[in-house]
């Protein structure tokens, strides 16, 4: 009989590849203490605004340490309904169309588990956030990657969607603006995607976590388009806009029977999101907007800085309309994304993430997060310049 503990690991989990980010993280960790500037992070460099932290402290002082309703505090759901109604133009009932989750990550997991039968097909655009495909696989569903291209500024187009579609496709996963590309779709592009979803009867999971970090034009939610609210689960959270990554607080909005199905999975697995994070989230939605605007302006300036510097250095880089990621094309250096990232790290101590960590569509690109102070950003750009020069000589 085998004594290898591996024999107890479920087959579909054993079959999951490890995140490509993990290896790179290990490599960067080995250089600890060596003046590494990391553009590899995926979160704001701002600390959560003090008034939000204070609200959490007050909640603890007031003894708010219990479970909440499975759906989350009604007061928070009301605040979410107001916010989503005002900012995205979609009305949701706090009583049965909104569920508060442990970050958008949990909401996604709930959705895949609630809506996918084994073998159901989920379409998702790629390059994409590293956990989409594994989350689909963990729900015993089958992922269909739909490519997005640099020539389209990494917007998803209805044509590529149609070309990738297969019979049995049930869900479409959207993340606009997108991590890692910063790509997004304008209203006209979304309308074509929406028409395709209606034609093929697709349910849409729309992760709009970066929507408050839209720099050019206005963000449109696919849920706000005619005939789409009834087939869309709108996913959003507090991590990016309010710099609240570590609080793990997000939410899903959608038709009541679908939210109810997600709630079933949530109540048996998670029970509820932390009440302290929920109290902080109420404060964020009520009084956090000045800080959101300030942080957005700051990211906007940093985006302009890094995109200008990358292009000047000979890396073709589109200006991401949203998110805090630049996704430059590094093929002009003659290196692949892996060699470029490792070489840059070893030679110049700047960490960027190879684009293929986000799927094969990221080939020839690296992701550089510009949620870092000016001094570090400027030094990082100088070092990248120097690295590219060294490749030429």
């Amino acid at each position: 009989m085998s004594t290898d503990p591996q024999r107890w690991v479920a087959g579909h989990v054993a079959a999951l590849p490890k995140s490509g980010i993990r290896d790179f993280f290990e490599l960067v960790s080995k250089l600890k203490g060596q003046d590494v500037i990391s553009l590899g992070v995926g979160e704001p460099d701002f600390v959560t605004p003090w008034h939000i932290r204070k609200a959490a402290i007050t909640a603890i002082e007031d003894g708010k340490t219990c479970y909440t309703s499975n759906l989350g505090l009604l007061e928070l759901r009301r605040a979410i309904a107001d916010y989503v109604g005002t900012h995205f133009g979609v009305g949701y009932r706090p009583d049965d169309q909104i569920i508060v989750t442990v970050g958008v990550s949990e909401a996604l997991d709930l959705a895949f588990r609630a809506f996918c039968n084994p073998g159901d097909k989920v379409m998702y655009h790629q390059p994409c956030y590293v956990s989409y495909h594994p989350s689909i696989a963990l729900a015993h569903a089958q992922g269909i990657a739909v490519p997005t291209y640099a020539k389209d500024n990494f917007a998803l187009t209805a044509d590529t969607l149609r070309a990738a579609w297969q019979p049995g496709a049930k869900l479409l996963m959207l993340n606009l603006p997108c991590n890692p590309t910063g790509g997004t779709c304008d209203r006209a592009q979304l309308e074509q995607i929406a028409a395709f979803c209606r034609e093929k009867d697709l349910l849409v999971l729309s992760d709009e976590i970066y929507s408050e970090l839209t720099f050019d034009g206005t963000h449109t939610s696919i849920a706000s388009l005619p005939g789409m609210a009834e087939r869309t689960i709108f996913l959003h959270g507090f991590s990016k806009a309010f710099a609240m990554t570590g609080w793990r607080i997000g939410y899903a909005c959608g038709p009541a029977p679908l939210i109810d199905a997600m709630m079933k999975v949530h109540q048996y697995s998670m029970m509820c999101a932390s009440i302290i994070a929920q109290e902080a989230a109420i404060e964020a939605l009520r009084n956090g907007w000045d800080a959101v605007v300030q942080m957005r302006e700051e990211y906007h300036r940093r985006r302009d800085l890094v995109v200008r510097r990358f292009n000047a250095a000979g890396l073709r880089c589109h200006a991401p309309r949203g998110s805090f990621y630049a996704f430059p094309d590094i093929t002009a250096t003659g290196q692949g994304e892996g060699d470029f990232a490792v070489g840059l790290l070893k030679q110049e101590k700047v960490a960027v993430v190879p684009g293929t960590a986000f799927g094969p569509g990221g080939r020839g690109h690296v992701r550089a997060c510009f949620a870092t102070g000016y001094e570090q950003l400027i030094t990082a750009c100088d070092r990248i310049d120097r690295y590219i020069q060294s490749l030429r000589s």
């Binding site: 993280f25 992070v41 995926g42 600390v47 991590n179 300036r301 960490a351 000016y374 400027i378």
Partner: protein, 162 residues
Amino acid sequence: MNPVLKLLIDGGSLTVAQLAQVAGLSVAEVEQHLEQLKKDKIFLGWRPVLDLSHEAAAAAAVQAVIEVKLTPERGGGFNRLAERISRFDEVESCHLMSGGYDLLVFVKGPSLQKVAAFVSERLSTIEGVLSTSTHFLLRTYKEQGFMLAGDPGRDARLNVVA
């Protein structure tokens, strides 16, 4: 709006070279903007922000806030008196206030005696000054946006995150 002025208002702590990078201008262009802002008396100059509780920086460590009540002058109102008080080198800043007194004056001096002498011999003797109420600063926790205690700016983020 002047792009350099916008950055000064929003950020404040960038060097000229960094201002140039962020605004997408050359250093010479930023200096031109700063020169113009100086001419327009919008940008008055740079000053270091120091933690005066450190021994090494304690040369002018006594600071006081003085509430001053005035009798407004015929013709000049509060302005002429306020300007007269502002001219003293000891005065760091001077503001006309709403409420129970007229001027709030921030004063800095090398010792408690020097500041006390300034108040009793020079400030309170000015014609038009009705009364003064002096408060000495005991400890500073935040100065011009900088936290002095703790290390809230430390970056605890992981190096590489999805």
